[in-house]
Symmetry: C2
Subunit: 429 residues, 2 copies
């Protein structure tokens, strides 16, 4: 094949021994890995689309969040468009042979232009795949179509109509309702008893989904996979714990939280000792049903929990759309040692999948955040994965940590997270 290698990522990464071994391992066992993965998808309902946040610490590579209502399609490299289109065709073909019209259900935030650009990019992918696509909004005060001028195009949000168990927008009755709204505040009653196919299923929204359930599944997946390729599963999973009910504003449930932080820090330190990792363990506390990077904090010591100031507690008390946080997951903090550009901004890869196909990704980059912090925060930027081929097509002739091969590792770990989400959905529905 003829190459056009005109784009090279300018990314400075410090890779340590175990991960390079891991990448070598993944490359060496590619056929076995793909075979194993192929058999995992058998007879399962795979989420329609998924994005996975990864952290590459050099000594370990792990998913830290799995999003079943991904935004950010506008940040993908244009070169990934055909791959997205083909994957959509495969996914919908398997779902419903005769589908023709798709209604995309948007998030309610009409002022977030980045989100709307993502929505437009997603609409374009679905249209290129050969579907008629319109966008429905759940906004209660939207009574007629609202057209918004974006930088790239125009986008029209339309009020949803329900009649005879059937969802539509004016003059457009879809075969498939595709949710791009994560249902943080619960499944809207308008979707009850709807006869059309709704994907992803309503039960996968953040009203019912819990990160701790996902990572329970991920832990099992990681163990099974690690056994297949004979590695320590810790190299590809973050340790985690969850707590019972708590209330940040009322200081309730803090003892349990502090104890668990302590326990998890000890467990991380034990692994750091085992692998001679010279860094300080840390824990990420997240809303167990949180999204949009809200309700996330970094903790290095259990004492920090007991001395949270009012501002910190307020920030941890609510997530998207003001939804109160009453349950958290404590996740092993995974350092990211990937940096982007000359100013060495901290970066983490986000991998996109449609059905079980890796279709692209980008780096989430933040110049104001540290290597032990949540990067999904205001001020973040996005750098599309340049060699998009790479997530799909490793190159055995290059070194294990060469871009194509590092990205292949990302594609594998992201698919493990997808597999966990698949199991999660197949239990829930």
């Amino acid at each position: 094949m003829i190459s056009d290698q005109n784009i090279a990522p300018h990314l400075n990464t410090t890779l340590h021994e175990p991960l390079e071994h891991l990448e070598k391992h993944l490359l060496g066992k590619q056929a076995k890995i793909e075979y194993w993965l192929r058999n995992q998808w058998h007879n399962t309902k795979i989420p329609f689309y998924t994005s996975v946040d990864l952290r590459n610490a050099g000594f370990k590579l792990a998913p830290i969040d799995t999003n079943l209502f991904p935004a950010g399609f506008n940040n993908l490299n244009l070169a990934t468009l055909p791959l997205c289109v083909q994957a959509v065709q495969s996914a919908i073909e398997r779902l419903k042979e005769t589908a023709y019209k798709i209604l995309l259900i948007a998030e309610n935030n009409t002022r977030n232009l980045y989100y709307l650009e993502s929505l437009a990019a997603l609409q374009n992918i679905l249209q290129q795949a050969g579907y008629k696509v319109r966008i429905g909004s759940l906004l209660p005060d939207l009574h007629e179509p609202l057209t918004i001028n974006l930088q790239s195009t125009k986008l029209t949000l339309e009020p949803i109509i329900k009649k005879n168990h059937c969802i539509s927008v004016e003059g457009f009755v879809p075969c498939i309702i595709l949710l791009n709204n994560d249902l943080s505040l619960g499944s809207p009653s308008i979707f009850e008893d709807v006869y059309q196919t709704i994907i992803p299923p309503l039960s996968s929204g953040w009203a019912t989904r819990l990160k701790s359930t996902h990572f329970t599944h991920y832990h099992k997946v990681a163990q099974e996979f690690a056994e297949q390729i004979d590695i320590d599963s810790w190299l590809i999973e973050p340790l985690f714990r969850n707590c019972g009910k708590l209330n940040f504003m009322k200081n309730e449930g803090y003892e349990c939280l502090a104890d668990n932080v302590d326990a998890i820090l000890n467990n991380i330190q034990r692994k750091y000792n085992e692998y001679d990792v010279p860094h300080k363990p840390f824990v990420i506390i997240k809303a167990d049903a949180g999204s949009y990077g809200m309700g996330v904090m970094t903790v290095h010591d259990a004492d920090e929990i007991l001395s949270l100031n009012r501002k910190q507690r307020t920030r941890m008390s609510k997530t998207k759309e003001g939804k109160p946080i009453s349950q958290v997951i404590l996740q092993e903090g995974v350092y990211t040692f990937e940096t982007w550009g000359n100013d060495e901004a901290v970066a983490e890869p986000v991998i996109y999948m449609i059905d079980h196909f890796v279709v692209g990704g980008f780096y989430r980059v933040h110049t104001k955040r540290g290597i032990n912090e949540n990067l999904n925060a205001p001020g973040m930027q996005f750098e599309p994965l340049a060699c998009i081929n790479s997530c799909v097509t490793p190159d055995n002739r290059q070194a294990p940590n060469a871009y194509p091969n590092r990205f292949y590792a990302y594609g594998v770990i992201a698919r493990l997270a997808l597999l966990a989400a698949t199991r999660e959905l197949n239990c829930n529905t």
Copy 2:
């Protein structure tokens, strides 16, 4: 999405009115076309891979040959690799969930380095899709593995072993046998009563397949499709006829041939008159079961048939591997008005599909051939389609004859040829 438009094809095309209308039509009806196509694939066995030679005359766009054992994978743009990989995964998944090992059966010509480069590229695609792949050869005098050094890589051909209804190469029992040998000389007895899956089916080889059968199916497909989008099917199909038995060396069957040439030339002229096409009609005579561009001639007048010289007759008497030609197809010659580069070399697009996905293509370019001649001949060169996205993703914001949109039209017509081949195989098997 972020664009990297760093490659632009330098291609000079004269587009005339009807085709521009056709392209406009195809673009305007994209959702309907894709919907119609999707429903055509339902419950059919689609050929594993297909390449289609197209000719773009400006006033019409038609397939002239459909290859079910494509070579030329080395001529695809590297950017298409992920698309090929994803399509292979979809195709094999549908075929046989648990496949792990693939044996690729090569053509016998070990001196054609271009072919071997294609074979290596194909092996790479299958490997990237996550399969173990080795290459078996039908060469009768191959008794041990033969490793050939190519420009890009090394390739090993291995003798095939048959034992207990099972084909293998030394130490490697495949689940799937993928033929890349077009079986011109007949289906080898070694494949009889084999329990493994053989794709494409043995019956699709050139020992049994006839171009005239294919184009009979294509004619029906073109009519159905043309009706869907309300155009004259002649704009997308070459007229054709076939003759009974003939023998070029013994001058047998020439009258029938001359009569049919006459009839088809008259039919073309009628259509040229209808559309005010100022060109001279011509007919291509081809071996009905020919491949590798052998046994092909251009005729402008029935008299040319009766006055063929010995050299011309010899050339028309045999096709690949010395297989005698006893049956021909007479196909409306479709001018190509596409030229490549500063020297205005004559060019025709070749579109590649895996399963029903368009995965790439290239221009076959010939500096020594005319716009009314077969370009599949020694001296041809290949120029990968630069905007490979384009076959899959048209751009409604650009003019109908802009590259992305012209290529979308190519992708549609190529898939109509694939549909004809699909119906052909589903009748034959």
